[in-house]
């Protein structure tokens, strides 16, 4: 009701304005005729007298306004409030910019140019309205034939008019040198793009309206259209700027629209690139939703509120399910999960992420190696991932029974290799490895593959660092099982990477830096670039290296504590009593806390497989000695490695 009264009031004022101007101009004309009695003298009289001319100009403006109203009525019917609101807003900007333009061309200022600018503004208004109307097609369920007819007619007339004026401006400029016609030519050229944009959109909408099924690629086409129109506009503005600066001066009046155009173009360009990546990710990485998944969420896509079928729905890494087409159009704006805002382009792992990335979707070259010897282990670990809940103890058990050999990326399953790490870090290990696996798939897109060679070298490193075999329990780990089992699993990824023991919290084991040798030239070049991607990749390598160094420090600590223990045989009895108490708490702990001589039998009994740990105390001793030597060598290498890489 507010708006209607306002509209009525506006109508009243405009009608009175028209009436007043009509009365005034007829007064002027009547006065002239009364004084001069004849046609020509009265015309001359009106032209000579400034007040009369002012009134006549006013009358002309009012006439333009009335004609505009009438043509608007013809082409658009009555305008919706939103449309007229936007029209008025845009018109104000255009008027102020025109006034700014006048300051540059003040020498050319004449009634003719004012008239031309008015005409330009007039036509601009119709372009905007046409655009709004075409957009409106998407909004209304009923589109009449007369609507199509009107839009067609309007677009054709507008385009022809634009082309005529551009041509006119071109010929005048060529014939008489640069003048204000430059601006006209440029403005009309811009209007052509506007009209073309509207026309293409109209075609798309019309096709969409008449098709019976949902037209999936429409959104993509619209984005491309926006991109090309934006490109045209941006190029035009730049060219215009250059020409204006060379012939006249800086065209201040064009700066605001130019800024907007360039910004929009940049945004569209970014959207285009990012959405292409996100959509590619979606198509290649994320699985189609299964029927069970769909039933679990009541089968409704929360973007469009319509039912989903298994074929047309995708499951994101965060377990949220949407229509493929809905996701596609959302990814054009933002590359996040609509529900939990997980970044699709760089999935920072939430706890549930890995379970959704099936190993079989995109086999990458790097993965084939690991799949041969240790498929079982990988499968089992991912199986446990799938049903992992808040209870973490599952993880400590399952892999140790699976830990076969020392090959492939199943290094994390080799429980005996790092008993000391196990209760806490082992779970992290599994997650981080799964992350790597997940990343593996990801990075096949971003062009930076991971390799498993380093995984093996990591095992070697672990071996050499003296965690193989049964080294005495380190005091650090005695209280670890409790802490770890109290910690909810969701917390684990947030442990800072480079914190060596803080209150019984182990550092997160490092991501294995991939072997750089396997990178292709192209990928290396990609990494060298100063783009965000390249930078991130480099940072990732550096963090990995740092992690490894930190891990080395931890192992160093462990080793020294182990040495301490070994040297403190006399206090063994007290130590044993300590371990006895913790034995009762959890089965896992036994593995860590038993003195070296017992560990192999413990492993046998608890896991059922002897695996890599030694089978007798003497061998144990041997390994310990070996590893001591190896470790020193390794540490030296590490130092070198560190100094090289830092």
């Amino acid at each position: 009701m507010n708006t209607t009264t306002a509209a009525a009031a506006a109508k009243m004022t405009s009608t009175t304005a028209v009436a007043i101007s009509l009365v005034l101009s007829s007064c002027v004309v009547a006065n002239a005729f009364r004084q001069k009695k004849q046609f020509y003298p009265s015309v001359v009289y009106i032209c000579k007298s400034n007040p009369s001319m002012a009134i006549m100009y006013m009358q002309a403006l009012v006439a333009v306004y009335v004609i505009g109203k009438l043509t608007g009525k013809l082409f658009f019917g009555s305008l919706r409030p939103a449309e007229s609101e936007r029209l008025i807003e845009k018109a104000w900007y255009a008027v102020t910019e025109t006034c700014l333009a006048f300051t540059i061309f003040k020498d050319d200022l004449s009634p003719k140019f004012v008239a031309l600018f008015t005409l330009l503004l007039f036509l601009k208004c119709f372009h905007w309205l046409a655009e709004d109307r075409v957009d409106y097609m998407e909004r209304t369920p009923v589109i009449s034939y007369i609507f199509h007819f009107r839009i067609w007619l309007l677009l054709v007339i507008l385009t022809l008019g634009d082309i005529y004026f551009v041509h006119d401006a071109y010929t005048t400029t060529m014939a008489k040198g640069p003048s204000v016609q430059l601006v006209f030519g440029f403005e009309y050229a811009l209007l052509i793009t506007l009209a073309a944009n509207a026309a293409f959109k109209y075609v798309l909408h019309a096709v969409d309206v008449h098709s019976d099924t949902f037209w999936e690629s429409k959104a993509v086409l619209l984005l491309y259209l926006e991109f090309f129109i934006g490109l045209c506009k941006a190029v035009m503005y730049v060219v215009f700027l250059i020409i204006m600066v060379r012939t006249y001066t800086i065209p201040l009046f064009a700066f605001r629209p130019m800024y907007h155009t360039l910004r929009n173009f940049k945004k569209v360009f970014q959207d285009l690139v990012l959405s292409r990546r996100a959509i590619h990710n979606m198509n290649t990485l994320y699985p189609d939703a299964t029927l069970q998944d769909l039933q679990a969420i009541e089968n409704v896509c929360i973007i469009c509120r319509e039912d989903m079928t298994a074929a047309a729905a995708k499951k994101l890494p965060c377990n949220h399910i949407f229509h493929t087409s809905c996701l596609r159009s959302w990814f054009q704006r933002h590359q996040t999960c609509p529900t939990c805002r997980l970044d699709i382009l760089r999935p920072t792992p939430p706890t549930t992420q890995n379970s959704n990335v099936p190993a079989s979707i995109t086999p990458t070259p790097g993965r084939t190696a690991q799949e041969t010897p240790s498929t079982e282990a990988v499968a089992s670990s991912s199986a446990t991932d799938n049903n992992r809940g808040p209870s973490t103890s599952n993880h400590t058990h399952v892999p140790s029974s699976q830990a076969g050999g020392g090959s492939g990326s199943s290094y994390y399953n080799q429980a005996p290799l790092h008993h000391q790490f196990r209760p806490y870090t082992f779970q992290q290990r599994t997650t981080s490895v799964d992350e790597i696996n997940g990343n593996n798939i990801d990075s096949s897109n971003s062009g930076i593959p991971e390799s498993n060679n380093m995984n093996e070298s990591w095992i070697a490193f672990m071996n050499a660092a003296g965690i193989g075999g049964g080294i005495g329990p380190s005091p650090f780990f005695n209280d670890m099982p409790q802490t770890s089992s109290n910690l909810p699993f969701t917390n684990t990824p947030q442990i800072p990477l480079n914190l060596p023991f803080v209150g019984g919290i182990a550092i997160q084991p490092p991501n294995i830096p991939p072997n750089l040798d396997t990178l292709s030239d192209e990928e290396l070049r990609l990494m060298e670039q100063n783009t965000r991607q390249g930078c991130l990749a480099r940072i990732k390598y550096i963090t990995d290296i740092k992690c490894m160094l930190d891990a080395a420090v931890v192992m160093m600590n462990q080793y020294s504590s182990a040495c301490l223990m070994a040297g403190l045989d006399s206090t063994d009895s007290t130590f044993n009593s300590e371990t006895k108490t913790s034995d009762t708490t959890e089965n896992d702990e036994q593995l860590e806390t038993r003195p070296p001589s017992n560990i192999s039998s413990e492993t046998d009994s608890s896991t059922g497989s002897g695996v890599t740990s030694s089978s007798s105390g003497s061998e144990d001793q041997l390994i310990q000695e070996e590893t001591e030597q190896q470790r020193i060598i390794r540490l030296k290498r590490l130092e070198k490695f560190g100094s090289n890489s830092m």
């Binding site: 998407e138 209304t140 949902f214 973007i303 609509p338």
Partner: protein, 169 residues
């Protein structure tokens, strides 16, 4: 086939008509244009806006639900998070990326998961608990913080105005 935005709006309209949440009435102004809605919001109980019925309008973009709608009250409002021209300033109505006030975290922004119902419920809770740091209406924010009594009085007079009861004074 009609656009996805239109179908979604129709679905939401249906949902809101079938199961209207308490204190909210909303629907398109005319059935010819589903992209302009009117809504009536009752002031939350136990607050200074209690008892009021506030009309508002929602304007949906053609790419709804990818972009958020715009909402503004069509009655006089005095509230820290409502501009003096009636526009509502809450984070749920802002697309991720643009942050007019520079304080909103992205996880309370617009996403296609949101709906008219959620917007209106957020507005009700906004009426109950203004965020005086946002400062869409600085005067109101200041008054809310420093002169709660005065704020309550202004709110009460607004409530009376929406109900058509002459103010007590």
């Amino acid at each position: 086939m009609a656009g996805s935005a239109l179908r979604r709006l129709m679905a939401e309209y249906k949902q809101l008509t079938l199961n209207p949440p308490e204190g909210i009435i909303a629907g398109p102004t005319t059935e010819e244009n589903y992209f302009e809605w009117e809504a009536l919001i009752t002031g939350p109980e136990g607050t200074c806006f209690e008892g009021g019925v506030f009309p508002a309008k929602l304007i949906f973009p053609s790419d709804y639900p990818l972009s958020p709608p715009k909402m503004s009250f069509t009655c006089d409002m005095f509230h820290p998070n409502i501009y003096s021209d009636g526009r509502v300033c809450i984070s749920i109505l802002h697309a991720p990326g643009d942050d007019p006030m520079g304080y909103e975290s992205s996880n309370e922004r617009w996403s296609p998961v949101q709906s008219v119902e959620k917007i209106l419920l957020s507005v009700i809770s906004m009426l109950a608990e203004p965020n005086d740091e946002s400062g869409a209406n600085v005067d109101a924010a200041k008054m809310w913080r420093e002169d709660r009594e005065g704020f309550n009085k202004v709110a009460e007079s607004l409530v009376r105005k929406t109900l058509g009861i002459p103010t007590s004074k």
